[in-house]
Symmetry: D2
Subunit: 389 residues, 4 copies
C-alpha cells in the first residue's frame, strides 16, 4: 500500500500567517502525511507573512520550503494549490475571495469573517468556485475532536432520539482579573466582538454540527464587567469595547431548546468548551478540558444499569483515533488540526466539498448577528437571518 506513495499526486500548500494559528496549521501540514494514508501528498510550499524576513525565519522553523512577504504572491504560484488563511478575521474575505478566484482551494480560519456581509460574499465566492471544482472549508477545528465527531455520529444514528435540550458553554478565565491589561482583542474595531465571536462562535458551530440542526432564533444578553483596563505598555487605562461574556438561549430547527454561555471571566475554567445534549432516547456530554472523553447515557437501557458512561474516544472504532496510536492513547489540541487537513485533502482528492463549508461559516455569523441584535433590544427573541423556516 505504502509502496505506491511516491507516485501520489502532490498538493502544494501556501500558508498565510505564522502566529499562533499559523504555527498550529504548520504542525498539522507537517504531520498529516505521516499519520494518515492520504491520496495526495501535501507539500509545504510557501509561507506568506507581512514581512518577508520574519516570514523567512518562521518558514525555516515551521518546515516551509520558502517564504514571501505578501499573500498576493501565492496566487500566481504553480506550487500552491491550496491557500490556508491564518490571519485575523478582518482580512479573511479579501484573501479567500481572491484565492478562490485564482482557482486555489481555500482553508480559512474561523470566524469566517467579521460581518455577515463579508461572510455572504465569501459564501457566494465559494459556491461559484465549487462549480469549477475549487473547494473551500472554514476551520472550525473542534469538529475534528474525535469525541465530538463521535457525538455527531451517535446523534445521526438516532441514539439520543429527538433532541430536547442543548447546553453549550465555552468558559475561559484570562480576563477574570480586572488588572489584566488591554489588548487588541478587547478593541471592537479590531476584534469585531469579544467572547461572543471568539469562543461563542465555536459553541454555535459545535451545536449545529453535533445536532445536525440549525438555530432559528435567540434571546441574548451581553456584558462587559470590566469596562476600563490598564494600558499594556504605559501608565493609565483605556476602555474595553467588546463583551466579556455572552449568554443566550435559542431554538433548534428540530424544536429543542439550547442555552449558550461564552465567558472569559469564569475563574478556574481554562478552556471549558462544554456541550450537553438531552434527547428522548439518551444524552451526551463533553468538556474540551477532558477532550478524549465522551459521556453517553442510553435512556433505552433498563434502569438498574443505566447511567452516563465515560467513553474513552481513543479506540480504532472511533473517528480519527485509529490513524494515530494504539487504544487508550489520547490526543491533544493540535491533533484536531491534523485531522482537519486530512479530511480536507481527502475531500479535494475525491472531488467533494469539504465541511464545514463557507455556507456553514456564514450560518454561524448570522447567529452571532442575531445575538447582538437581541442583546441590543432588551433580550427580545430574534430570528436568525437567512434561515429557511
Amino acid at each position: 500500500m505504502t509502496s505506491t506513495q511516491p507516485q501520489r499526486p502532490r498538493i502544494g500548500i501556501g500558508l498565510v500567517g505564522h502566529a499562533f494559528m499559523g504555527r498550529a496549521h504548520s504542525h498539522a501540514w507537517r504531520s498529516v502525511d505521516a499519520i494518515f494514508e492520504l491520496p495526495w501528498q501535501p507539500v509545504l510550499s510557501v509561507l506568506a507573512g507581512r514581512d518577508a524576513d520574519r516570514a523567512g525565519v518562521a518558514a525555516a522553523r515551521l518546515g516551509w520550503g520558502s517564504a514571501v512577504g505578501d499573500w498576493r504572491l501565492l496566487l500566481a504560484r504553480d506550487d500552491v494549490d491550496l491557500v490556508d488563511i491564518c490571519t485575523p478575521g478582518d482580512s479573511h474575505a479579501e484573501i479567500a475571495i481572491a484565492a478562490l478566484e485564482a482557482g486555489k482551494h481555500v482553508l480559512c480560519e474561523k470566524p469566517l469573517a467579521n460581518t455577515v456581509a463579508e461572510a455572504e460574499a465569501m459564501a457566494a465566492a465559494a459556491e461559484r468556485a465549487a462549480r469549477k471544482g475549487v473547494r473551500s472549508m472554514v476551520g472550525f477545528s473542534y469538529r475534528r475532536v474525535p469525541a465530538l465527531a463521535l457525538a455527531r455520529n451517535l446523534v445521526a444514528q438516532g441514539r439520543i432520539g429527538t433532541i430536547r435540550h442543548v447546553r453549550a458553554q465555552y468558559l475561559q478565565d484570562w480576563l477574570a482579573d480586572p488588572h489584566t491589561p488591554l489588548s487588541w482583542r478587547l478593541d471592537r474595531q479590531r476584534a469585531g466582538s469579544g467572547a461572543l465571536g471568539d469562543i461563542g462562535a465555536h459553541i454555535i458551530d459545535a451545536t449545529q454540527f453535533v445536532t445536525g440542526e440549525t438555530l432559528t432564533g435567540v434571546s441574548a444578553v451581553l456584558d462587559t464587567f470590566v469596562t476600563e483596563r490598564p494600558l499594556p505598555d504605559r501608565p493609565g487605562s483605556g476602555p474595553v469595547t467588546v463583551d466579556d461574556a455572552a449568554l443566550f438561549h435559542g431554538r433548534l430547527s428540530g424544536g429543542g431548546l439550547a442555552s449558550f454561555e461564552a465567558s472569559r471571566v469564569a475563574a478556574g475554567r481554562k478552556n471549558a468548551l462544554r456541550l450537553e445534549l438531552n434527547g428522548t432516547h439518551g444524552s451526551l456530554a463533553f468538556d474540551l478540558e477532558a477532550m478524549n472523553e465522551l459521556w453517553f447515557h442510553d435512556h433505552t437501557e433498563r434502569p438498574e444499569t443505566a447511567g452516563f458512561r465515560r467513553i474513552l474516544v481513543t479506540e480504532p472504532q472511533h473517528p480519527y483515533a485509529g490513524a494515530w496510536w494504539p487504544p487508550g492513547h489520547g490526543l491533544g489540541y493540535d491533533h484536531t488540526f491534523t485531522n482537519q487537513v486530512a479530511d480536507l485533502v481527502i475531500a479535494i482528492a475525491a472531488g467533494k466539498d469539504p465541511e464545514p463549508t463557507f455556507a456553514e461559516g456564514l450560518a454561524v455569523q448570522r447567529v452571532l448577528a442575531a445575538v447582538e441584535a437581541s442583546a441590543a433590544d432588551a433580550g427580545r427573541w430574534t430570528a436568525i437571518g437567512g434561515v429557511q423556516p
Copy 2:
C-alpha cells in the same frame, strides 16, 4: 450537658400532611433531638390529614402521638406550638395565615404559595406575627445541604470576590419518555406551573441564598415538548398544561449574570441541581447528585497548583456535618430536613426569625412570575416586581 435535658422546655409539633413531604418531615422531627444538642425538646404531638383514619395509621407509623382529620383542629391545641405545613401549594396560604394568627410558629413547605398575591398575604401575616414573637420559615431544605451552606459561607468570607456568573440548573428526567402518563403535576390548575415552580424555584432560592444577592430582572423561555400524554387510568390522552422546561437568564443585584435551566426531560439526569459561581477571586461548583462535595477554585493561588478542589463536606469544621458522624461519612437527602428543623428550633428558642423567611419565599415567587411574564412577551427583559433598586 445532656444531664439537663429532662428539664428542657418542650415544643409541640403539629404536622399537616403525610405524603412524601410529610414522611420526610416526620423523619426529621423524629431524629433531630438525638442528633443535635437542642435548647428545646421537640415533641411529635399530632398529625393532621384529610381523613382521620388514614392519618391515624400514618401517625402510628411515623411516630406521632395522635392524629386528626382536619388541620383546623391543631390551632386550639395546647400541645401544638408549631404547625408544619406539608400540603400542596394551593392550601399553604390559608393554613399558614390561620396558624400564625393563632399564635403558632409555622414551617411551610416550598413553594410558599401558588401566586404572588397569596405569597404577599403570607409574608404580611408573618411580619405581623413576628412582632408578637411568632416565627415562620419556608422549607427550602437545600439550604441545609452542608455543601451549599459552606458555599454561602465562602462567598460571605469573600473567597470568590465579586460574582460575575452563576450557572444554575435543575435537571430531572421523569418526563423524558413521551409515554409517561398525565398526573396532577401536569395540570396548571392544580400545580400552578411545571418544572418552573417545582424545581426552578429551588435554583432561584439556592442562587439568592449562596450569593447573598437578589435577581433584578430576567429574560425567559418556557416550553412544553409533549403537549398530550396518555391518561393514567383509562385509554386516551389529555393535554399537558404546564411547562416541561424553563430557561432564563437574569441579572444579580451585585451586577453578575446568571443563567437558569429547569427541566424534567433531561434524560439521565435524575436530580441534578447544579450550581456554579464564578467570581473575581474564585469559583464554586456543586451538583446535588454528589451532594457531599463542593468544588472550590481559589483564583488567588499561584497558577502552578491552582485548580478546582473537591471538598468532601463531611468534616467537623463544616456546617451541620459535625453533629452527625465522624469525618468522611456522608449525608443523604433526608438529613437536610433534620438540619432544617434543628435550625428552626434553635432560632425560635433564641427569639430570632429563622431563615428563609416568608419574605424570601415571596422573593422567589416574584422571580417565577417575572419568568412567566418574560416568556409570554417573547423573552423581553422583565424586572422582578418589588425589588428595591
Copy 3:
C-alpha cells in the same frame, strides 16, 4: 396494607453500648419501621451501658424506653427479643454467646471478635442457636450500601463474568499528622490491631460479599510509620503498638487476584473504601466517598460506545433505594444501618438466617490472622485457615 400494622408482632430490642455505634444503631432502630414495610414492629425496649445514669440520659435522647447499667440484665427481660451489641471487640464473645444461650437473637458489630479463637466460639454458638431458631448477624453494614448490594447482584447475574482482579482499598487520614496524639485505638492490648482490623476487615468482607468468593491465601506487609506519639492528656509521648497501614494481595477461590490496602495515613482520603473488580465480561468500581454511585463497564458492548458508566444507585429498581425517597435522592452513611436492621427483622420473621452470619465474620477474622502471619514471615504466602480447598 398499613391498616394491619397495629396487629403486627413486636420484636423487643435491647442495645448494648451508646457511643458512636450505639448512636448509629439507635438511629436505625428508631427509623426503620417508618421507612420499610416490616412484618414485625421493632420496639426500642432498653439500652444497656456500663453506668446506669449515663445510660439513662442516653436512652432518653436516643429514644429507648428504659436503661440499665449491666448488659446481663437484658438476658432475662421479656421485652428483649434481640440483643444488639455495640461494645468494643474484646467484649463481643462474652455478650453474644450469653445472649444466644439465653435465646435472644443477636446483632453483633464488626469485627466479630479480637481473635480467631473467640470468633470460632461465637460461630459455634450461633450454629447451636440457629438450630433452635435463634438468629445471629454480624454488622458489616457496608453490605447495605445500595451500590455494593447492586454490585453483588450484577456479579451474581454474571454481568462481569469470571473475576480476574479485585482492587480493594480503605484509606483514611486521621493519623497522617505525626502529632496526632495516642488513643486506645493505637494500643494493641485494647484494639487488637490497627488499620488492619478496623478498616481492613471491611474491605475483606466487602470483597467476599460482592464476589461471592473467599480468599484462599495472602502475602502481606504491615507497618507503623509513627512509632511514638504524644500522650493525649499530659506532656511526653508513648509507643504506638498497632499498624498504621496494611498491604496485602491474595487469591480468590475462583482464581482471581486481589490486592488490599488499609491505611490511616493517606492524606486527603477521608473514608475512601474503594473496590474495583475486573472480570472477563465487565468491571465494577465503587468509592464510599461517593456512596450513591456504582461504576459499571460492560465489556460485551461494542467498543464504539463502551465505557464505565456511572449508575446513580437511587432508583426504585435498586436495592433498598425504593423504600426511601424518589429517584435521584441519595442516601448517607446512617441509612446502611437502617437497611441492615430491616433485613435482620425480615429474616428473623421469616425464620431464616440473616447474613452476614457469624461464620462469615469468622472467615474475615481468619483472613486477618493470615495477614498478620504472612507479615511476620517476610511476606510469605499464607493459606487462610479453615478454608476448604
Copy 4:
C-alpha cells in the same frame, strides 16, 4: 532570537526501527524544532530498518532524509550524531553499546534490556562513554507527561512531605477476552516477560522518578489467567508463556510502602497508568487516561477548604506546556516524545547527562528481576539487587 537559528549547530539523527515506536519517535524529531527553542537543530538524517526497501518507504513517509537496511551502517556516518533505538528489547544492548563505542549519543527505548546482565553492560558502556562526552538516555517517555513532571517538582519542593504510600497501577484490557489470539508478546522467549516488563516497568520508573526514591525490596505474585490462546494464523491454539498480570508491594528507600499492579486483563481500563502518593503534608494522584490532570491535596490547608484539587497541567507555569499552545489546551500521547527529545538535545548541547540515564534503566531492570524472584519463592520479600542500603 530566532534570527540566529540558521547559525545553530546541527545534530544528525539516525533512527533504528520504524514500527509503532519508530513512528512516534519520528513524529517527535519532525516536530521538536518548531515547538521548542533548541540550541542545536536536529536533522532527520537516516532511518535504519531490517529491509532497505521497506525502510525507504517508511523514511519517505516519516520525514527521514535517507534509509538503510542495517543499523550498523549508521555508526560510520558523519551525518549521524545520535542513534535512536526503537527496536525490540533483545537487540538493545548490542546496538546501544556499539553506537556508544562509535561515539554516537544514544536514545534507547524502554525497557533498557531483557536481562539484568545486558542492562549492566549497557550502563557500564554508558558510563565509559559519558567520560568522553557521549551521552545516553533511556526512553521512559512518561517522565515527560507535564502532569508527572509537575508531580515530581511538587515532591521535590516538599509539598507532600515524607512519602508514606505509593499506589501504582498500569491497567490495560487487550487480553481480557480469552479469545484474543497469541502474538509474540505472549512468548517469553521473545518478549522477556508479559505485563510486568511491558507496562510494569513504566510504573516502577514513574514511582522512582516522581518520589526521587528507589525501591529496596518487593513481595510479588505473577499470574497467567489464560494459559492457552488461539493461534493467530491457523486453527488450533498454543501456550501463553508470559504473565497476564503482576502484583507486588515494595518498600521505598525513604521508608514508605508502595503497591504495584500491572495487568492486561482489566476490562474497560484502556491505558490506566495511575499513580497516587500520600505524604505527611499532602497527596498527589494521576491517571494517564486523563493525562493533562494532576490531583493535589495540600494537607496543610485548613480543613474547611481542603480537598483534592484538579490541576489542569496546561499553563505556562507548568513543565513543557508553555512551549506548546495557550493555557487550557491539552497535550496528547505523542507530545511526551517531543518533550523527551527536546530535553535530550538541550542536555547534549549543554554537555550534561540527560535523564533517565542507563543506570536508571538498569535500576528498573533489577526491580523486575526481584519481582520475578519473589513470585517464584511464594511471595517472600526480596531485596533489590545492587541497591545501596
